[in-house]
């Protein structure tokens, strides 16, 4: 917590201090409501006008054994009066609901940061369950400002008199902590109260509101907290903002794409972490003419989407790694049949089932090369939660303009992280209305637009355009089944050329920082925040470092080679073992250096910064 000034608040006897940025991490059992607590704090923080970034981190198990390390769920929120890009490497304040949460998280807290613990949850048994042989608090008190609060007891007192079972009653203790945080950082409680009123009734509503207010009042009266903090609103671009996660933005982008292209949306999907939320969200929008189908498996979801595309819908399928693997054969057919649709892969840590709720961006080569034979497909990767909205629209637009399936690679970090999002002006969003082909005169299923090489979208129900498509090799123009060797060669070349032509219409890459210098950091997807922050810091320290972030992974933007060639060294941080780096080295014959991380966690700013320093011969 960096201090800028001190003052006294008018509303309270206590001192307030002004801070530029704060990172808090809420941690507890996966049943303790940590994700909810974090989300509510984030919403109030967004309304307070801060820039923010969040990092939810939770186990795949719905209710892992209580009190164990496996069951610890966390939610980190970083908020500031300045522009920030990451959830912060180290929280300033940790809230730990039990010893396991403390043990799993305390070493991430910045030196002499604050650690608030629910002391009621600390006993011999729970300490042992967390793997603590001795009471850790004496040692931790040396390193951190440890604040011990009897959260369970205070919660019970607050709800006394309400007829709730002990179990029901204890469930609201996360709102005690939330109320306390609202006091500590001078956040408004009203948005949370409004949300509670819309969600609960009777005693449960009453209990939650009472507890929230009790937590707030506790902060005001206790001597444990002599100071509360103000993080002023950030100076950000004027406009109307909302808080949004990547998955919500993606879902809204799917709906928006249908509106902007004047086509009914069809989404076929099969539940899979962390993509299911997109299916849930899109399914709410039937009134947009959206049809969603939960298919019997990943293959059927993909197949139904291709069928809907054939019939003229704007088709999507959403999945994560293992599901994306299953869709590859059908994706090959969509490439062969040249039908427009978007395949969304929200990457997660693997291989196999891996760590479904953890982060990786290791499906790039799968998207590019994961099918039999040569089967080129455009690939787009958003780089922030809000960007998922625009990426979905762009992917759909490219699909329809070029009559090709498009892969959108999001990841678990973007999916669940939140940021304040400048709500776009609907009038200013791109509109792409591609008409169905209707003229039978001279129609051939594989005739092509001379610019884009797109074939016509001729949908069933159109008189005079009856034709057959399918996976067998097809004759150029006529689309008749063909085993002619030269024809097959040409059709391969046409499909490749069609995708390659997208590269010439992409906006040129913009380098952040000087356009030439010692080091260029190249990234893609959800690593943007960490890379931007690390390179900005390095420049401030006098280093010649820039960064460029690729949104289009296939084809690459036309000026990529020139950009890469303007720097002495190239560093490619990826949450995989160097997939983009491999492509850059192969395509441009450059000695790009890979920086790999495979822990299921996002890059820390400090990690990238250290690599930059090492490459430029700086001592740390």
């Amino acid at each position: 917590m960096s201090k800028t000034s001190k003052g006294s608040s008018a509303s309270s006897q206590k001192r307030t201090e002004k801070l530029e940025h704060v990172a808090i991490r809420f941690t507890g059992d996966s049943g303790d409501g940590m994700q909810l607590t974090g989300t509510k704090f984030t919403e109030s923080t967004a309304l307070a006008g801060n820039d923010l970034a969040t990092l939810p981190d939770y186990p795949a198990e719905i209710r892992a054994p209580a009190g164990t390390l496996a069951g610890v769920s966390g939610f980190q929120v970083h908020f500031a009066s300045e522009d920030i890009h990451t959830p912060a490497d180290h929280p300033d304040l940790l809230v730990a609901f039990n010893p396991a949460a403390l043990r799993a998280n305390v070493n991430d807290v910045r030196p002499s940061g604050m650690v608030i613990i629910n002391i009621d949850a600390f006993n011999k048994k729970s300490l042992a369950k967390a793997g603590y042989e001795d009471d850790p608090l004496p040692e931790l008190r040396e390193r951190f400002k440890v604040v011990e609060i009897p959260l369970t007891k205070l919660n019970r007192e607050a709800i006394k008199g309400l007829s709730l079972s002990a179990r029901e009653g204890d469930r609201s203790k996360n709102f005690f902590a939330l109320g306390l945080m609202y006091w500590l950082y001078n956040r408004p409680m009203e948005p949370t109260i409004r949300w509670l009123e819309g969600r609960f009734k009777g005693n449960v509503l009453e209990a939650n509101i009472r507890v929230l207010k009790a937590g707030h009042a506790f902060g005001e009266t206790t001597e444990l907290f002599p100071v509360s903090y103000i993080v002023p609103a950030a100076k950000i671009q004027p406009g109307t903002y909302r808080n949004i996660t990547g998955n919500t933005a993606l879902a809204w982008g799917i709906v928006a794409a249908g509106v902007q292209m004047n086509r009914p949306v069809f989404l076929g999907a099969y539940p899979i972490t962390p993509a299911s939320d997109v299916l849930h969200e899109v399914s709410r929008f039937r009134h947009f003419g959206v049809k969603t189908a939960q298919a019997e498996d990943e293959i059927a979801a993909m197949s139904a989407a291709i069928g809907a595309a054939f019939a003229g819908s704007l088709a999507f399928t959403t999945t994560s790694g293992p599901g994306f693997v299953l869709k590859q054969e059908a994706l090959g057919l969509a490439i062969m049949a040249e039908l427009p649709m978007v395949v969304v892969d929200i990457q997660r840590a693997g291989p196999s089932t891996g760590m479904p709720t953890k982060i990786e961006q290791a499906d790039l080569l799968l998207a590019l090369y994961g099918r039999n034979s040569e089967s080129p497909v455009p690939i787009i990767a958003p780089s922030s939660p809000g960007d998922c909205f625009h990426a979905a629209i762009e992917a759909a637009r490219l699909a329809v303009e070029y009559m090709t399936p498009v892969v959108l690679l999001s990841d678990g970090y973007l999916a669940n992280s939140a940021e304040p999002w400048l709500i776009p002006d609907v009038e200013a969003l791109p509109r792409t209305e591609i008409e169905n082909h209707t003229d039978p005169e001279g129609f051939q299923p594989y005739m092509r637009d001379p610019e884009s090489l797109a074939r016509p979208w001729a949908i069933p129900g159109t008189p005079g355009l009856e034709h057959r498509i399918g996976g067998l090799s097809k004759e150029e123009v006529t689309g008749s089944v063909s085993y002619d060797p030269e024809n097959n060669q040409r059709m391969h070349e046409i499909r490749a050329d069609k995708v390659a032509r997208i590269g010439s219409v992409l906006p040129p890459l913009e380098v952040k920082g000087p356009s030439q210098g010692d080091l260029l950091v190249v990234g893609w997807g959800g690593t943007l925040g960490a890379i931007v922050t690390a390179t900005e810091e390095a420049r401030e320290a006098g280093l010649s470092v820039s960064n460029v972030h690729l949104r289009h992974l296939n084809p690459f933007p036309a000026n990529l080679e020139k950009v890469l060639g303007s720097f002495e060294k190239i560093l490619v941080p990826e949450i995989n073992s160097g997939q983009l780096c491999l492509l850059l080295r192969a395509k441009f014959l450059l000695p790009a250096k890979s920086m790999s991380k495979l822990t299921g966690q996002p890059f820390l700013v400090a990690e990238i910064r250290a690599e930059i320093d090492a490459m430029l011969g700086q001592e740390n």
Binding site: Y241, R242, R286, A330, P460
Partner: protein, 341 residues
């Protein structure tokens, strides 16, 4: 829109050269489908033929309609997407015993249970043809094939029982070479609102010749087939040697009838397609050669809401309840805040 009334068989014949083996049952099925299409009162452009992989799955290329030759086993899923997007289209799925019941068994089950309003024609020749003669999921125990030189040890699946088990609303069995019965079954399937499942007994002259000869051959059929006719007793055999099927506690048995004897008075079951429970149809499906005659005809035809109609209804209801979706309103829904200079 083209005029559906003036269409002929020729209008449904594509310019593609047929590439099935000489004597394949698929020729007869194709010819009969092409004959029935003009009678259905559907404009040609509204027909879509969807197939998977296998000999039968070449079918769409030979139909001058919209067609989609997809991937192995998944045709019902593609067809579901087409029908969900465009409920007005007449969608026909062509599959085989390998495509539909082996690799595609999952999709077949779910498309049936959803009652998507489409016609699915499963050509059953009890063998893999396109991959050159391996046993299929409907091959009988002991079948010697390239992959089972010592005989198949897999218990076969019966397509009719499978469809009934998945909750099919229309289930029929017909024969490749019986033009009249095949055509009548296609018409009935088209009339049916919901998923129409038709098993077509089809001969593979190369890898499993004469598998169905008992019912394909008109002379043998008198003994080997039980023709189902709604409202008529389950009776078969030559006039002087009639027999009937009695069903007690769900168990069928054969009862001999004297000349001129009333089958109903002897407890012979009367065929009825619209039983709410599928138990009766299951009993019929259990009739297998050689112990019983093989039932041919419509086993079951009941009404249930269709998938695509319910999906469309949800869209229509949402629009009438909430108004047509407004994108700006959506983006500004919930908590927002405005930053000024």
């Amino acid at each position: 829109m083209s005029d559906a009334a003036k269409l002929t068989r020729k209008d449904f014949t594509s310019d593609q050269e047929l590439r099935w083996c000489p004597g394949c049952g698929d020729y007869s099925i194709l010819a009969n489908v092409q004959r029935v299409m003009p009678e259905l009162g559907v404009p040609r452009e509204n027909f879509v033929f969807v197939s998977g992989i296998g000999c039968s799955s070449r079918f769409p290329y030979y139909m001058n309609t919209y067609g989609f030759h997809t991937i192995h086993g998944r045709a019902p899923a593609f067809a579901t997407g087409i029908k969900a997007a465009r409920p007005d289209l007449s969608v026909w799925v062509i599959t085989g015993d390998g495509d539909g019941l082996s690799i595609g068994g999952n999709h077949l089950m779910h498309t049936i249970r959803r009652n998507v309003d489409l016609q699915l024609l499963l050509f059953n020749n009890r063998v893999y043809g396109l991959t050159k003669g391996q046993y299929s999921p409907t091959s009988l125990i002991g079948m010697k094939s390239k992959s089972t030189p010592d005989g198949s040890i897999d218990h076969p699946v019966d397509p009719i029982a499978f469809a009934l088990g998945a909750g099919a609303t229309f289930v029929a069995r017909t024969i490749d070479v019986d033009a009249a019965h095949l055509q009548q079954t296609l018409r009935r399937a088209h009339e049916h609102k919901g998923m129409a499942f038709i098993e077509i007994l089809q001969n593979c002259p190369v890898y499993n010749d004469d598998e169905w000869i008992e019912v394909e051959d008109r002379k043998q059929r008198v003994e080997a087939a039980l023709v189902l006719d709604d409202g008529q007793p389950l009776v078969w055999g030559p006039a002087d040697q009639r027999r009937g099927i009695r069903i007690e506690d769900g168990i069928p048995s054969i009862v001999a009838l004297d000349a001129g004897e009333d089958p109903v008075s002897k407890g012979i079951a009367v065929h009825y397609e619209r039983h709410e429970t599928p138990a009766y149809a299951f009993a019929l499906a259990s009739l297998q050669r050689p112990a019983f005659p093989l039932p041919i005809g419509v086993f079951r035809a009941v009404e249930k809401p269709t998938y695509e109609a319910m999906l469309q209804q949800q869209v229509d209801d949402a629009i009438s309840k909430m108004g047509k979706g407004d994108l700006a309103e959506l983006l500004h829904s919930g908590d927002t805040w405005t930053v000024t200079q």
